[in-house]
Symmetry: D2
Subunit: 369 residues, 4 copies
Amino acid sequence: MKNTFGSSVAITLFGESHGRSIGAVLDGMAPGIPVDEEFIRHQMDLRRSLSALSTARREADEVIIESGVFRGKTTGTPICLRIENQQARSTDYDKTELLARPGHADFTAHEKYHGYEDAHGGGHFSGRITAGLVAAGAIAISALREKGILIGTHIAACGGVCDRPFGDLGADIKALSSMPFAVLDSLAAEKMQAAIAAAKTEGDSVGGVLESAVIGMPTGVGEPWFDTVESLLSHILFSIPAVKGVEFGDGFALAAMRGSQANDPFRMQNGRVVTESNRAGGILGGITTGMPLHVRVAVKPTPSIYREQQAVDLAAMKDATLSIVGRHDPAIVHRARVVVDSAIALALCDMLALRFGTDWLAPGKEARA
Amino acid sequence: MKNTFGSSVAITLFGESHGRSIGAVLDGMAPGIPVDEEFIRHQMDLRRSLSALSTARREADEVIIESGVFRGKTTGTPICLRIENQQARSTDYDKTELLARPGHADFTAHEKYHGYEDAHGGGHFSGRITAGLVAAGAIAISALREKGILIGTHIAACGGVCDRPFGDLGADIKALSSMPFAVLDSLAAEKMQAAIAAAKTEGDSVGGVLESAVIGMPTGVGEPWFDTVESLLSHILFSIPAVKGVEFGDGFALAAMRGSQANDPFRMQNGRVVTESNRAGGILGGITTGMPLHVRVAVKPTPSIYREQQAVDLAAMKDATLSIVGRHDPAIVHRARVVVDSAIALALCDMLALRFGTDWLAPGKEARA
Amino acid sequence: MKNTFGSSVAITLFGESHGRSIGAVLDGMAPGIPVDEEFIRHQMDLRRSLSALSTARREADEVIIESGVFRGKTTGTPICLRIENQQARSTDYDKTELLARPGHADFTAHEKYHGYEDAHGGGHFSGRITAGLVAAGAIAISALREKGILIGTHIAACGGVCDRPFGDLGADIKALSSMPFAVLDSLAAEKMQAAIAAAKTEGDSVGGVLESAVIGMPTGVGEPWFDTVESLLSHILFSIPAVKGVEFGDGFALAAMRGSQANDPFRMQNGRVVTESNRAGGILGGITTGMPLHVRVAVKPTPSIYREQQAVDLAAMKDATLSIVGRHDPAIVHRARVVVDSAIALALCDMLALRFGTDWLAPGKEARA
Amino acid sequence: MKNTFGSSVAITLFGESHGRSIGAVLDGMAPGIPVDEEFIRHQMDLRRSLSALSTARREADEVIIESGVFRGKTTGTPICLRIENQQARSTDYDKTELLARPGHADFTAHEKYHGYEDAHGGGHFSGRITAGLVAAGAIAISALREKGILIGTHIAACGGVCDRPFGDLGADIKALSSMPFAVLDSLAAEKMQAAIAAAKTEGDSVGGVLESAVIGMPTGVGEPWFDTVESLLSHILFSIPAVKGVEFGDGFALAAMRGSQANDPFRMQNGRVVTESNRAGGILGGITTGMPLHVRVAVKPTPSIYREQQAVDLAAMKDATLSIVGRHDPAIVHRARVVVDSAIALALCDMLALRFGTDWLAPGKEARA
């Protein structure tokens, strides 16, 4: 399977940046989950991030629910979510159509699709395609929330500035849910925004690190070989454009520790098995421990910059010079945050449905009455 | 799918550490690929790593080819590779059978399998299960080599010591293929071994970072959404026990760069499109650029250490103290190297077969005559 | 995977009969395949079959191509095909909303979705959902045709009348492609239509048998175990509503033969291996022989009839009587024909892409220039 | 995926008829299911069917459980089941090695595997490979039985003789479970055996129809599109060698009925919704109704017959004459019966695990204590 992720709860993405519409089909979601269109809009707005920091392209990004929702609740059948492309300004892109832009997928798309690809605005490789992921993710996030499973992501680092680490996860996740610029320490947030603005002034861009936490996951979810929790989460996270690294718990830092430091001691707490530390990020042997999940994602800097760059002309097959004139973000890390939340939610719904059945996320029998 | 990875070329693992046998079924491999039993043995030996650094458990690890190979070549049908467990010393483990060891999967296996799991020696979660992956990987590595696709992995860091970075990839990969302790700089190798020995003396363990390079990959392999090259490689790499981080190209370091640094400039070279640098690790938009693939993997320290640790008794559901007496490695990073090579090879065979058909890896028509 | 079929070329269906829109996402189709909107319309018309024989519901069924097609050709990225529901007359259905109609999926949908399903007009179980399959199938049929692979289906039996058997397959397939009522013998066609009309007069309905032939398939496609050609074709055919039987070659008739009758003798013909008869339907050991594929499909009578029927009221959980007043077909077998063609085409594209690579269906290198 | 079936409970087959061993890996089976080696042996014996009717090849067919079973119960991890090939008499086959035998997969295997296949005794296409399916199926059948789901299959027709139809399903399924020649009417059984003997005398072979019933299935299992119960059952059934037709409920006979005959009237019975007849075979809209499942399978005559047949020599690529001297069955339908039971059980376990979670088949919490 290619443009589909998941085996029990599955998402399929479609669309090109400047095509007619983009969207997602979310299949296998349990019936009876309330679909809060206001929350979908909220998530879509976080992705668009209409601040001064971001691209000037402003589309309503209204999510049209084509199927799978009836009387405000999921029916259990495939949910098609569609977003029309309204302000496609293809003229900005025409002159670079055959230029392979550094850091972009133009060249690899050309090799894969032999020139038949719709390269305008990155086509199917555009970050815009994540809008479908966010729309579907909003439903997944709602479903998980009903079961007490909450996800939060902050910008741990951006432009040389670090946020404070996660503290009280319940409070931090709650706070992050409404922040357009998801940084726990407001001073760090200001500095990051200043760093982004500085990069913009210099016609350049910045990347960053996103850190996510999930609370409320049951124990025993995931598989020992191949479909470990880390495997499935990294699979979906690495399909988000610009993600080049994923680590769980203390991740790469664990590689430099001794075993006596890295091991999380077990102990009983109120009749449940817990670990005193959580360097494993809530996953041992690929399976959830019941402790919070921790994952960190490296986001490379936006490849579109306003400096002259060395490119190649794919039509003439010769060296060329690229000067970008379209609308582009000096940073996407703050917008990618909600994409990461959504990707995690979708993967967790799939794992939970596999483990506990397709109805696990549905309202209880009492709620159905 | 759970204990199976791959859609066109697929591997299924089975077995428990102290069960009757362990192994793998490799399905979808093209017909006609020479199966060099000597090379399989070589790879198995690298995994066992019979140096003073490693566990005293010495099994022949002879790979029995049960099916799918005829007259020294793959038939195209499923290849069952089996390794008998000969020296299982279960008495070492009996006393800890119900203790959830820190850093191990005992607790999560217990939650997932409700106590029906075979916990001896880690059971199905044991690093020993990677033997099947290495046996299957040896065939995948051979198949890729015939097409000029070569994989090499070195220990980039271990015990606070760093190896030199990759230089001439062709030469480095060749050199690594026969090294039992895969470090390019022999002085660094000595220091790492000293660090491992020191940890052992202190009843402790160390982790490390493995860095792999792949040369010879064609362009245009991988998918834009979900089945990106990064997604599929990380999926299989994160199912190797102890792996807690995966990054491609400059990975997490990219998050701290400006776009002008991170972008790899394109240019023409002998009629082919190349990039001047390769910070993207040979992958743009999830698809191969034709430049070498670069991936780094964080391996946590071996969780089995000889220090007293805090555990829980899963039978009595109370706090307990763990003192390990079995045979355990102070480091596995040097042994995990060949597992990483194998995992990468298997994932690449799958991607190539999907892109170019199941016969792409088979000998050319001329070779068949 | 549920509402998705295929691993290399995959189709996902969405939509409810009386919802906002229905459609399909077709993923993995090779780039560069001409998308002939006129042909899509032709196929959609065959499915709607606006004759006196069929339902009075007449919708334009215009297929909107949302993505994956650029300048009249496939791009290689997911193709979203959408059809808006324009004339949904939900009042016809309201009174039966909670009645489980005999032969319909109302009861099973209710059990599966706990009452959250959109039951209007059969919801996601409606035959109308096949419109998305036909739209996607039209692209698959076009792609196969470029490679000389042609599919034709006729109504072999309906209402007690049998069509003549297939003769010259090339000529028959060509003739069938433009027939709205796909019967090779025109006299048989008239009799079948009379039988359908008679059933309608009596407030009843009829079923039928569809027989398909495929010419031009290469040898060596399919897998020995589980993904045999028969397995994959029956998998998709049995998801067409009303299909209750599938047989290949002489099918059930083979069960009554002796081996000496059933075996197809091999012989050489112009340097190629052929069989003198083709009772195996072009498939041996689950793999194509290069002879024409033959498959027959049993279609049960339309369950919606105008006679009073015994039903249950799912809200009150008590016996009830059903009298249908909506628009319903006395037969769907003539409309199902194009659905069968489409399903076969989609499954064959998937098998061919797995065998020969995702580009096999793409235009040759010369055509791209 | 090719030699693997199932997404939650999955089976992978390996082996060649005259190779070292054959077998299966059964993955995803719930933990705690009792593994009764006596029952496995019983099922293996039914498949071998050591009567005068069947092939003289008598192997112990002892199933070696390599993994996934601990203290007599499934652990939840992959179960490798292996059967050694002990009496491979390859000399019988050597002279026909390059002859494409009519009705066999020699030619298609040769096309698919380019001559690298192990053709001895049919290699990976041999009916012998079903031994792995039966071994795995025995565990699936046991698991289902614990939940009150029972499967029975009889020979509905063979050699022109028909068995009586199913009557009291509970009693019939119980009676069939121990019959080596599964025919409900003992007089019909005698006639069928006489017909098989007559075919043998004439150097010929016969086929037959197998009819299965399943009682105890819950409602609401299966998916509306693509993964219907019919789709998944036919998928696995059509991978059994010699199966050329599959029908559910009244199957092809439905195609000749009127809707008023074909529809099963609903009514309430003891608070449950039932149908008065069961022409739909327990499946509506692809989803279980809770009524018994009914499926019929057409088995073609054994292709190996002792009459001279027209073949081709694949080495010389010229016409040839085939005279078979090995050991071959004049009928396999009585042996295929247990293969059909096993295939159905495996597919149902997968559907149930997807619907209700991987633990649904595990013993209840009380049983674990």
